[in-house]
Symmetry: D2
Subunit: 417 residues, 4 copies
């Protein structure tokens, strides 16, 4: 159980931090200030298109790539950085401190997950058409799984269809929380639908690559989470009406949707959790700084009441969380997805919960300002809260962990270790 960093990942981390501090943070501050000014002043907001990507941002991406800070998530040494999950953890944590950072380094969801799908399951043609430009940051992508009409926590509820009709596959249905669909560069989405209702329940669905401009694909609206649209990527509700594509748009062939979804969600969830560690650290830092700075009743705010106890509890919670995330990463590295399944569910439960609570504390320390956009806390809270639902609600992951735990005692009662 070695969670230590290699010289290589330490070098990456150092360069990443320097780049963020020197190049990214100033731009972020500037964009943050500009963003929303129009609406705050109750003016016509059409001039400030928050759904656009600025030249400044694209320049940051180019500079990052030039320094090799690019596709760090991908274990493949040719196409990505070739880092293990344990090694990537500290980089993802660093990028997770702000929702703005990951995209600079082409490491943001849902693209990372989609690239991994293409990497592992895509045909050569699919890779050439979609993986290549995604790795180059030329285009972006979306993932369409969750549906508005059913409880999507139970994947067998999925109502959308991907029916094979001769040499075509025909898609119908409605998806929402399709993250990234609002991005001006979003060119392709991965759609999951029911292909064969008679097959085994894990072999009924297919994953289909759908160019966003295919006839029948309509972005019905963009969805806010807690009032945030998360521009420019956003979360969309998308309808599919008789969308026809050639059969080779299906990833790995019909019926493999579940298998691919599982393969996709494992690393995807770990990456989310790694980033949340960084978000929680950032919130704690902000709480400490603000609490030391502001004075009330003759003392720094941090010295009032139970605030220091909460700082201590936050430190403990983050340290525990980071270790648990590293543990899951180490299992994924050493035992593959099957050996890490419960561990991934464990962090998927723990990370948003811990982060949400620490951010809530940070908000409280900041007073009213903590709820505004002057600080990144309202957004951080929302990010953490969303992840108690996204990629499977807590309850589904608890169910999986409990099944594993109880299984030890059902099968002859060999004690766990």
């Amino acid at each position: 159980m070695d969670f230590g960093q290699s010289d290589r990942s330490r070098d990456y981390l150092e360069r990443l931090r320097t780049f963020i501090a020197d190049e990214v943070a100033p731009v972020e501050a500037r964009l943050h200030a500009a963003r929303g000014v129009a609406q705050a002043q109750r003016q016509d907001t059409s001039g400030a298109d928050t759904w656009a990507v600025t030249d400044e941002f694209r320049e940051l991406q180019r500079a990052a790539r030039a320094q090799g800070l690019w596709n760090l998530f991908l274990p493949d040494p040719e196409l990505g950085a070739g880092l293990s999950n344990v090694e990537y953890a500290s980089l993802a944590e660093e990028m997770g401190r702000s929702p703005f950072y990951s995209a600079v380094f082409n490491c943001s969801a849902p693209d990372t997950g989609n690239m991994e799908v293409l990497y592992h399951y895509g045909s050569e043609a699919q890779k050439e058409q979609w993986l290549r430009p995604l790795l180059d940051g030329e285009i972006r992508s979306a993932f369409c799984m969750t549906e508005p009409g059913v409880a999507s926590s139970d994947a067998t509820n999925m109502a959308a269809t991907a029916v094979v009709d001769g040499d075509q596959v025909v898609l119908n249905g409605r998806k929402w929380w399709s993250t990234g669909i609002g991005h001006p560069d979003c060119k392709v989405l991965i759609f999951m639908g029911l292909t064969d209702p008679e097959a085994h329940k894990y072999q009924r669905h297919s994953m289909v690559l759908v160019p966003v401009d295919t006839p029948g694909v309509t972005i019905e609206r963009m969805l806010p989470t807690m009032g945030f649209y998360d521009e420019p990527a956003g979360h969309g509700e998308v309808s599919f009406t008789d969308v026809r594509l050639p059969l080779d748009a299906i990833i790995a062939g019909p019926g493999r949707g579940f298998e691919i979804a599982q393969g996709r969600l494992g690393p995807g969830r770990i990456h989310h959790c790694m980033r949340l560690v960084g978000l929680a650290e950032h919130a704690l830092e902000l709480a400490c700084r603000r609490g030391l700075e502001r004075t009330a009743f003759g003392k720094p705010v941090i010295d009032l009441g139970g605030n220091r106890e909460r700082v201590a509890d936050a430190r403990i919670a983050i340290n525990q969380l980071r270790l648990l995330v590293l543990h899951a990463a180490w299992l994924l590295d050493t035992q593959g997805l099957a050996g890490a399944r419960s561990a991934v569910s464990e962090i998927k439960i723990a990370a948003p919960r811990v982060t949400q609570q620490i951010v809530d504390f940070a908000i409280q320390i900041h007073g009213g300002g903590g709820l505004s956009d002057d600080f990144p806390l309202a957004g951080a809270w929302t990010a953490a809260r969303s992840l108690r639902l996204a990629d499977g609600p807590d309850e589904v992951h608890q169910s999986l962990v409990a099944r594993g735990e109880l299984g030890k005692y059902k099968q002859g009662g060999v004690r766990q270790k």
Copy 2:
């Protein structure tokens, strides 16, 4: 300790419910659907001015007033409904089920608090100029106390000034979280500032009535809470630069700001808590309905895992909260503000906490949709969370309650009852 409703308040409640169900709810649904559609579609939003008040809404107000469902909060039988706080509690709870309702009946913050200030402390001229049109719903108002530059939880930190200069008072400083300042009908604000730094610490400040269009008053921007601007009332940051007003703009004369603030905040906080009971009830209702409706893993969602336990705990929490709010109202009715001070702080702590937690559960039951604007839950969470800071953060109220509790044992040790 009689918390029962009178025949009169029961009659009011019945008529209020009917009016809301028949008249208000349909309009609310329509406006809710229209609101935000533009932005969701990433179109120019200038056409849908969310900071305007619709004719439909004004018509609702006229109809409510015609039925006597107007100014229900005001204990004065001539100017208001003449109800006790215990009687008003169930009406406020009903109006609190949606952030949309109170304003229909001219019972929304911060106007209710401001009207009470004018009613209790205003001169005849002030009443004529401002109370009358507020009671008529012709204008609206804001309250400017919290400041961005200091920890406002400690009111003695207040940096804004209201200096007497001959027959004028001169205001300088910067306020934020000035709720209501964005409303198109907002014509007056109450400003609190330091007048005499040498006086006793509770006699240093003054409250001043400031027409919004007075030179030197600038609405710098509107502030979001968790991404919500709460249009059309909104929360503003307002600067005051050499704002000059005649001395009789000071409410009750210089140096009485603290006294008035205390008098204002008591009922204001109780009203917030009464409304939160309604908000929590509504969230629980939505959770139950959704949980019964949606199916996952072969069962109604409400029957999965610990959901029913959470329903039970929510029911207990709301029942306790309602009783505690009634208890504070009863103390206010029978013993006045002094006798209810700790009780008001108790509910000010308990109500947002309980509501926040129940809304969080309701969000979880709703899945991703719970975080969007398709349901009123994201807004409800934000309303509850804000009230852990607004009108005094939890920690300040805890401090007051603890001081009262420990006082029992410091002064000779007579046991509390």
Copy 3:
């Protein structure tokens, strides 16, 4: 919803407090000091028979009765004090401050519940034989329902039998947590067993009055809770082997066990909760006093860290709890058991939970001493914790409350009030 006290109950309360302060508390302190000294000194403990009742205690009972402070729980004005549940609440709270007090006034469980069973369901002969001496405090009783061999949270699991055999009823089975069975004055127990497995599931069981010395009744052992035996009443494991009694030992006839159990448990649970309010108040008082008294790091302990916040939260929790208990009592008074069922379950969940948490805080403030027998806190914690299981575990009550809540929306969706 009137929770106020009558002149009569106020008078009772005053006299009760005086009697406790003047007469009971000193004896309690003396007995407490004597108790356990032997074992603490690792001496032979046979001399200090903690299972005996002292003359001093019996003298207290006589004095209390002489002052009319006797059978206060019984609503019957002839046999008891004739107080409503709302009126009794403050008396029970007072008696609940120490596990020692209730018995002085003949108001302790399980006797109160057993007396109510006999009062409501007993035949004249049964009343003469058992109710009379119980009301006189001459004898004590036990209640035998829970069983070691099954999950007794589900009453239909009950395995013990009460089979009618001609003019006799024959009891077999094993019960535990038979509270009171260790008392030297315990002369009778109420046994619940399965009579007719074919009947409707709520009409299968019978309640039988069993003299403790009936052949076949064996007290197998006394059970500790968290190391406490709660002498002299105690909790026993009792076996019944072919215990034969005349048919008229069955209360209200065969098959009415469930009905009687429900009738018994309603007031019994309310009384437990009333007492827990007093226990929580006492723990908070001890925490405040100790926290003010002891100094660490240059301050009274109560002023360190989050202690004052915890005092405030405890005050809020107790006030809410008391109101919820009064609410349940008021429902029981005005609508009977059926109308109070959910309310009783609500307090049965809330009261032990709140009390346990406040006692835990008080222990922490007391340091190591808080866990010893120098303070009544270890015992208080155990009492509260036990009641999360006794008379139905939390989860069963949560299930009942949730069923009620969801029922509102299943049956046509009329909203609750």
Copy 4:
């Protein structure tokens, strides 16, 4: 950050488990059954001397030692097993599953800590006289630091004195929670007292080795925790009246008490936490087994309500805790006590909290039995709860962790990593 086990420690672990399963567990079960039977039957308990050590137990110790399963805690390869803290962690966890196990392997508190004090700070004579027989398991020891008269959480409150008088040191004062003092083999205690009130506050105290039979040493009584006396070691209140010893009874010379206490408490606290991981694991195992076994409402109890969610949360909490403990052990191994100080405080807070909560859940699953001595849960809860006070209350450790966290931002604001 390598938490992996060596081949050597894995071998130890395997042999330890085998020995416990084959040799220790059966004896434990037998003793457990015998213990308390007398009192449970309300008989004279003088025959069953729970303060004695059985021959059976001594035989277990001999067998363990013969297999090299002895003094596993001591990093010295000659005198102990020579294992690192990371290596020892899994052995301590295994021994922590029952309060009975550690002593079999001569690895129980407070002896381990006392042996470490002697090992690191003792003179050759002191080692010869006391360390040798302690390592051999011939004698046992106690540690006398906490005092009844002051808040001992603040060590500067210490009132007991160790005054140098010529060639003697004279001890006066009163200590309590002197764990181990009741053991029939306890021959020596370590006493900490104030020597020079004028010295720097961390150089005022001395540690003195005191033979238990020294004149002036009186064991006033044994203290229960939650009703448990933890026989045969127990926790005593001990008075010291003009206890005179030669100067060389002082460990490392006068004024080094604080330094030694810190050195002693670091590993001592880690060992406690390692054991608590095992205790929590055991409680979870018991909860799972019982929950699978017992049936209510037609299902295994574990499948009711939120029980499976609680199993999952327990698994997450234990995994996080174990990793955090390993992390502290690794810091202690690689950076020494100074580098591990905050980490040790973090686990000292987290371990009892997590364990207490999981044990509480296990109790609830067991129903009434969970509170009795039929299961080791009541004792386990008490052990965990005690450790929220022993070796420094949570609040003191939170204060230390918070100071470290805030220090990062006070000293120029370099961000933590």
